[in-house]
Symmetry: C2
Subunit: 162 residues, 2 copies
């Protein structure tokens, strides 16, 4: 249901992204620690977005404390290597920011599956807001619905309930 991690299957893009990301950290004067490296490794390998907890579970055993994931993510967000997503359930999720085009998510309200949508309809909107006098304009947009699979499941359980 969720995308594999790139346009082709070699896994090299994740690696390249990882290298670039570490490079960026180095240049900005941040230290390359294993928690930071492993967090970035997960985020460049799998698309996510992940909660801090999901992220921590995906790290190799004993790399770091959950608190360090919070701090690592905060750092990565500061330098724009990571983008925060808000699915409206009170838990933040994070994904690697390739910096190319930004995209949005379609989230199933039943099974919480996430599909990435590589289009953004809000450019006109941002332009409009800039014309209203705002600077540094950004936006968040998430789409919610019930996915086809869950609709089928619902119908089935409705039948058995009859």
């Amino acid at each position: 249901m969720s995308d594999p991690d790139g346009p082709h299957p070699h896994g090299c893009c994740g690696d390249k992204n990882l290298e670039h990301a570490l490079q960026k950290l180095r240049i900005l004067g941040y230290r390359i620690t294993s928690p930071r490296k492993e967090i970035l490794a997960v985020l460049t390998r799998e698309h996510g977005p992940f909660t801090v907890d999901e992220l921590h579970k995906r790290l190799p055993k004993n790399v770091c404390d959950p608190v360090t994931v919070y701090r690592g993510i905060a750092t990565l967000e500061e330098v724009d290597l990571v983008r925060r997503c808000d699915f409206g359930d009170g838990i933040y999720r994070y994904e690697f920011n390739t910096g190319e085009h930004h995209h949005h998510h379609v989230i199933c309200r039943d099974c919480s599956s996430v599909v990435t949508l590589d289009v953004c309809f809000a450019d006109g909107l941002e332009r409009m807001v800039r014309q209203m006098g705002y600077s540094n304009v950004t936006h968040t947009l998430e789409i919610f619905g019930i996915c086809a699979g869950c609709q089928a499941k619902r119908k089935r359980s409705a039948k058995t309930a009859e």
Copy 2:
């Protein structure tokens, strides 16, 4: 900066909305209690959106406990009289749902002022997601930026810092 509450200044729309809302609650079998009435009064009078705390502060003294505001809001959201907004700061905000057209907010990252934008660019997006097989499609969209006033303020303080 934030809108007065309607297209004309009589305040009658808020009252009408309030009446309709109470009517809806009654019809659905909910009891009309003073906390609910007062919460709706605030929400139909001022546009908001408000956090639970802001809402509680706006209620007449001793109408109810903050917890009751949480519960009241939850009820109102259930029956679709209230819509939840998510400004990405971990605190939910609520506004009266007129049920007409939905709208979005432009939030200043500095002063947190909110301007309502009575347009929605996402209809095409929702249609597209429905074609992908999703049902019950909704979306959230908030726009962030630095408002003109705060930009001026920033420039001023940058100057004094020189």
